[in-house]
């Protein structure tokens, strides 16, 4: 919350004293040795669990560099152990009928690199998960620098159940899925020759999905009772099609211990810090995994152990008076002309091209994003959990 304050100070200064922010990339030492990165979580949910191993990469040209051929196993404080299988490069998965996380037990990760180095995590306690009472939305308006200056949208809120412990730490990862439509029906497609299309809505309905940024991490320490009520999550505005048909949010609520909290809270702080007048000193956030023989070796990432609760909600397209501000395609003269030019030139790389007709039967080659909902990453497969009711 102080960060917000500081951003406002910045805003004030902008007007007041012509401060300015611009994109900048400093010269960084490219030779910094990359470090082993551990990314994985054990919960009380049903297995399988996944541990990802990779190497950190250069900031400017970052890649995901998986690390293969490690021996990866999970042990608990009762001596139970399970070896994970590398299903794909750097992705180690436990078996579906293997060890399941039990609340109150401690878990530890053991790694052995192909060249024989051993890495251990600390033992981490699996916390009793706090339940989610409800997740809901409210219409809110977001300031915008261009007209109409106030853009409506949905803010998601969460109410959690009451925790038993005053010092409860929660970490929320949000996954969104939304259904959206393209603007035109397909009458023909062209791949050198023109084909008529029977099912004109083939590419009309799509589902988009992804991880919501940022994540949220909180502690109940400063609250009068250990529960979050009306806690604001992310905001989805009406400038995109996300709310145009139906939107679904899956809230993964992890009840974490203090170590995990410290890690994610530090990461969050560093993401949010910056751009203000009073930034704190950034620092290296080290996780809970270390080289057994050389504690100075930098190992990044966290082996997270948490109790998990999930909740999925669906929200329909907002109704009036809430206005939608996403752009809608309209056929223009250019689109009709483009249909003609399509036969003369154009590369095969863009085939097939989809053609629509207006109410008078005139054919047009529109911007393909307006006719093919998969054009910008949508999927035609309805997710299992989806319901249109």
């Amino acid at each position: 919350m102080p960060t917000k304050l500081l951003n406002m100070i910045l805003v004030l200064t902008v007007a007041f004293i012509m401060s300015c922010e611009e994109r900048y990339w400093p010269e960084l030492d490219a030779n910094t040795a990359s470090a082993l990165v551990v990314d994985g979580v054990i919960t009380n949910a049903l297995p399988p669990y996944t541990i990802n191993l990779s190497r950190s990469s250069n900031v400017e040209s970052h890649d995901y560099i998986p690390m293969s051929n490690y021996e990866v196993s999970i042990v608990d404080n009762f001596g139970n152990e399970e070896l994970l299988n590398e299903m794909e490069a750097g992705r180690y998965v436990s078996s579906a009928d293997g060890m399941q996380g039990i609340v109150g037990r401690n878990y530890k990760l053991i790694l052995r690199s192909p060249d024989g180095r051993y890495y251990n995590s600390e033992f981490e306690m699996l916390k009793e998960p706090i339940g989610i009472e409800s997740v809901y939305t409210e219409v809110e308006y977001e300031d915008s620098e261009t007209p109409p200056y106030q853009i409506p949208g949905y803010r998601f809120y969460i109410n959690t159940e009451l925790a038993q412990n005053d010092s409860t730490y929660l970490f929320w990862l949000l996954d969104e899925t939304y259904k959206f439509e393209s603007d035109y029906y397909i009458y023909f497609y062209y791949d050198g020759t023109l084909h008529p299309v029977v099912n004109r809505d083939t590419l009309k309905n799509c589902w988009g999905s992804g991880r919501v940024f940022p994540f949220f991490v909180e502690s109940t320490l400063s609250l009068s009772e250990p529960r979050f009520t009306h806690y604001p999550l992310h905001f989805v505005n009406t400038k995109t099609r996300k709310l145009s048909v139906k939107y679904s949010l899956l809230v993964n609520q992890y009840t974490i211990n203090k170590n995990v909290f410290r890690f994610w809270n530090s990461v969050k702080q560093q993401n949010e810090d910056g751009g203000e007048l009073y930034p704190r000193q950034p620092f290296q956030v080290r996780g809970n995994v270390y080289n057994v023989d050389d504690e100075n070796e930098l190992v990044l990432g966290f082996f997270m152990v948490a109790g998990v609760a999930q909740k999925r909600i669906f929200v329909d397209r907002p109704t009036l008076p809430v206005k939608m501000y996403y752009p809608i395609c309209e056929l223009t003269e250019d689109d009709f002309e483009a249909y003609g030019f399509m036969f003369i030139g154009g590369g095969t790389a863009s085939w097939p091209l989809f053609i629509t007709e207006d109410e008078n039967g005139s054919r047009a080659l529109p911007n393909q994003a307006c006719i093919d909902c998969t054009y910008k990453g949508g999927s035609l497969d309805e997710p299992d959990f989806w319901t249109d009711n």
Partner: protein
């Protein structure tokens, strides 16, 4: 007015022709010397006196009204000789009075009009009598440190009587150096005995003492902003000798830095910077707000984390190691609007001194510097007012005598009217923001009798800032001081003062109604000082005294703002501490070449109850798990007591009259620190007291310097090097949240600070072109490696301090084109400050995460700025009601987007790098200043 026209204001050209006329007019007119006036002329202002005399007698006055003060003329006996009255009034002021055979009376300064030929003009062989009062123009100058380019007129003075002096060989003379214009004491003026090549300087009451063998001397009296005066003094025995110095009006420079209390070469002080407000008037600043702190940043060894940030860093020390006094009032928040402007109205300030090393024993409590600001005293003679308007603020100051020569006052206000500026901005966040600040100062000074003076100064400043209607901040500073100056006898005086300073802030944050909260904080500082100065022994200037400070801090808390808020109220408790000190210092002039200053200061600090504190297991990190005991203390019970002995030493050796070497050693202790882990000081930072879990800080500084003056134009050159070490520096654990922290000791790590550097300074204090050029090379590194507990910062490796800028160059120059127009400019360069950059990226739960370098391993781009300003004075008419001047200035002329910080943000899962500049474009401003009276008033 009509009469006045006959009082020709002459120029140099006229003067020469006049000289011819006069010399040709040999016929004697000596009977005119017998012109007689009566007490009807008594107590007239000089102007009225002239008018009256000219209308009644056959005389005409010739003088330059800008250099001849309009003082009252007293006719003490009636009838009196006109020339005796005039000479009696003006000769002590260094003004020559002469009359020619036509009844023309000339009052001149710095130049004697010969109105008749010398007596021996036709008799070459006549034996000359007594030594002439007027010094020969071709004076031998190589012997003195004061290379003067002009001829000076000496006035003859006699101290004591032969009878009194019969018994002793030496004589103790003492007296005041007084500003001729307003009768106020001149602080830090030097009184130099040329024949002995030794001298002294006046103290804070303008008082000096000198012990010297009986005899005839030439004394040179000078001070910043005043005409240099020479006197022929015959010392017959001990006694009083006052000097009246006229203010330097014509030579007043935009930037005149003949600044140090003591002379660059000869003075005992090193590492001190003193500037008067007149000297910094035209230095271009942001938005035309004249600002002493921004000017201090142009001095060598003074750094700042970034533009617009509060506080500064002196010789590698953090900002909380500087102590600010405004005429004895401790000031804890020195800035407005989070650091963009300083909290001091420039009109109400007469000067400031910044002690960077060789801090006198009378000061303590901070390791790095003392920033001592002197508030202006009200004008004793007449009412006057001044003020100004800049794009940000409006100022008004009035001063004058309430009882003439007894009680005078000064009242100054400054306030912003910036709110309406914000209304012009389209951005809704800005439009709905409010920013208000202001300050006020009220000074009263009462001269009870010649031996007793009382001064009362009070100060208030506030900031009210409301950001986009979601966060409201209020900052207040208030303080007052009452001082009593008493002189026991010419060689012994004392000053008793009581001061109070208060700083508080309130913040209401209602961004999220569920978590709406308010924060508050208050610090109170009560101080009592008793300082004595004792000059009885020849060549010794002894100071001694007692200082005591009581700190009361209310750490406030975080409270829910209303019923909807779920914030748990957190009370952060109160703190109380008592700092007592006794000191003695001696400035000892061992011989004309060698001087020594030695000071001892004993500090005793107690952290007092009522309080509940934890004690932690030894040699283990201070974490909740390692708490061994919870201790309750009752009111004023001592929780922790620390004693510390400060040693201050400095030595000056004059190799040649214009070359000296100085060395000093300083040892200090500090018991209060700023709880802050932001890179620049943040508005929610809090001062905290050392306690049973946080050790007091101690610092040592060694410095060495060489000082010389080059050429007759007085270019001052100095080279100073220093090495400084601070123990128990307060640093913080990574990511500590200090805004609401019930147990700060759990987030504090104490370490060591090491800094060293070389400062080269070249000043040109006089001439049409004035200014300075300085270069500093410095390093400041911090090491936090707590061996017993295993707690470290930066993995136990030393790292550069946030404000470590190895190369720094400042050029400040002013050029006076004419009396009415002057230009001035700054060029500022420094290495970019250190920064911690991300060096690698990795993935965690689908998030891209940055891995940062070691602390402060990189640097932001170098800083470079050019500023320019032009001052345009109103007309030079002598009789006018109001004199105005305009200052047009451009800050950051080249518009360089200097980086304030570089940072990286994860946006929609992508990492973007940004550079933030505060003043990323040229900033133009116009400031209008006005005052009652004419240019010279």
């Amino acid at each position: 007015m009509t009469k006045f026209r006959t009082n020709r204001i002459f120029s140099k050209g006229h003067l020469v022709s006049l000289l011819f006329i006069i010399i040709l007019a040999i016929p004697a007119f000596s009977q005119k010397n017998e012109l007689i006036i009566t007490d009807a002329y008594n107590n007239l202002s000089f102007k009225d006196f002239v008018t009256k005399t000219e209308s009644n007698l056959i005389v005409r006055f010739f003088y330059n009204p800008d250099s001849i003060p309009d003082i009252s003329i007293f006719v003490r006996s009636s009838p009196a000789k006109l020339m005796d009255v005039i000479a009696g009034t003006f000769t002590p002021l260094g003004i020559n009075v002469s009359i020619d055979s036509f009844g023309n009376i000339f009052l001149t300064k710095g130049q004697v009009l010969i109105t008749k030929l010398p007596e021996d003009f036709f008799m070459q062989s006549q034996v000359s009598g007594a030594e002439p009062d007027t010094l020969a123009v071709t004076r031998e100058t190589n012997k003195t440190f004061l290379k003067t380019s002009d001829a000076y007129v000496a006035e003859s003075r006699t101290v004591g009587t032969k009878k009194e002096g019969a018994r002793s060989k030496n004589a103790l003379i003492s007296g005041y150096v007084i500003n001729m214009n307003d009768s106020l004491p001149v602080i830090g003026a030097t009184v130099f005995v040329e024949d002995l090549e030794s001298g002294t300087s006046t103290d804070d009451k303008g008082f000096f003492t000198l012990t010297l063998p009986k005899g005839k001397y030439t004394m040179d009296v000078r001070s910043v902003g005043f005409e240099e005066m020479k006197y022929k003094v015959e010392v017959l025995s001990g006694g009083q000798l006052d000097f009246n110095l006229p203010e330097k009006v014509f030579l007043m420079q935009a930037v005149e830095i003949r600044s140090q209390t003591n002379h660059n070469v000869r003075g005992m002080q090193m590492g001190i910077e003193k500037l008067s407000i007149n000297e910094i008037k035209e230095i271009p600043v942001v938005l035309g707000e004249r600002d002493i702190i921004k000017v201090a940043l142009l001095l060598p060894g003074v750094q700042q984390v970034g533009e617009g940030s509060a506080g500064f860093n002196v010789r590698g020390s953090p900002a909380d190691q500087n102590l600010f006094y405004l005429s004895e009032i401790p000031v804890y928040n020195t800035s407005h609007l989070f650091g963009f402007f300083s909290a001091f109205n420039p009109d109400a300030i007469s000067d400031f001194s910044l002690y960077k090393s060789s801090i006198p024993a009378s000061y303590g409590g901070r390791l790095s510097s003392i920033f001592d600001i002197s508030a202006k005293q009200g004008n004793k003679k007449k009412f006057s007012a001044r003020g100004g308007i800049s794009p940000i603020t409006a100022r008004l100051l009035v001063e004058g005598p309430a009882i003439k020569d007894k009680l005078n006052y000064l009242v100054g206000f400054r306030s912003t009217y910036s709110d309406w500026v914000l209304n012009f901005v389209q951005d809704p966040d800005v439009k709905n923001s409010k920013a208000n600040f202001g300050d006020a100062i009220v000074n009263l000074s009462y001269q009870v009798n010649p031996k007793n003076q009382l001064k009362l100064i009070s100060y208030y400043s506030y900031d009210n800032i409301s950001l986009a209607t979601k966060v409201d901040d209020k900052y207040n500073n208030a303080g007052a001081s009452l001082s009593w100056y008493h002189t026991f006898n010419p060689s012994h005086d004392f000053n008793l003062s009581f001061a109070y300073g208060q700083y508080n802030y309130f913040e209401d944050n209602y961004e999220y109604s569920l978590a709406a909260y308010s924060l508050n904080y208050e610090l109170q500082h009560y101080q009592a000082n008793m300082d004595f100065s004792f000059k009885k022994f020849e060549n010794h200037n002894i100071t001694y005294g007692i200082n005591s400070i009581l700190y009361k801090i209310d750490n406030g808390g975080q409270l829910p703002l209303d019923d909807n808020s779920l914030i748990v109220p957190v009370y952060l408790g109160e703190q109380k501490g008592l700092e007592l000190a006794a000191y003695v210092g001696d400035e000892w002039r061992i011989n004309p070449k060698l001087s020594l200053y030695g000071g001892l200061r004993y500090n005793n600090y107690s952290y007092l109850g009522p309080n509940t504190v934890f004690s932690y297991a030894d040699n283990l990190p201070k974490t909740p798990e390692n708490i061994t005991d919870t201790l309750e203390y009752s009111n004023n019970e001592v929780i922790q007591n620390n004693g510390g002995l400060d040693l201050r030493l400095s030595v000056t050796y004059l190799i040649k009259p214009n070359l000296s070497f100085k060395a000093s050693y300083n040892n200090l202790h500090q018991y209060i620190f700023m709880l802050s882990n932001t890179i620049a000081l943040s508005p929610t930072d809090k001062w905290q007291l050392c306690n049973n879990n946080i050790e007091p800080m101690a610092g040592n500084q060694y410095s060495l310097g060489a000082y010389t003056n080059i050429g007759a134009q007085q270019i001052e050159f100095s080279l100073e090097g220093y090495y400084k070490k601070v123990h128990n520096l307060v640093e913080y654990k990574d990511g500590a949240n200090l805004v609401v922290n019930e147990h700060p000791e759990q987030d504090v790590l104490q370490g060591e600070l090491e800094s060293y550097g070389i400062e080269v300074m070249l000043k040109k204090p006089v001439g049409k072109l004035t200014g300075w050029l300085n270069y500093t090379y410095s390093k400041a590194t911090v090491l936090v490696n707590n061996t017993p507990t295993g707690e470290v910062n930066n993995f136990g490796m030393a790292y550069p301090a946030n404000y470590d800028k190895p190369h720094s160059l400042n050029l400040v120059a002013a050029y006076k084109v004419s009396k009415r127009i002057s230009f001035s400019g700054n060029v500022v360069y420094s290495t970019g400050r250190p920064i911690t950059y991300p060096t690698a990226i990795y993935y965690q739960d689908g998030q891209k995460i940055l891995n940062y370098s070691l602390r402060n391993e990189y640097r932001i781009p170098d800083y470079f700025r050019v500023d320019l300003s032009m001052k345009w004075e109103g007309n030079l008419k002598r009789k006018k009601f109001l004199h105005g001047s305009w200052i047009f200035s451009v800050y950051n002329l080249t518009g360089r987007k200097n980086a304030y910080s570089v940072y990286f943000k994860s946006e929609q899962g992508q990492i973007h790098g940004y550079k933030l500049s505060i003043f990323g474009a040229p900033i133009f401003s116009i400031t209008y200043d006005f005052k009652l009276g004419n240019y010279a008033d």
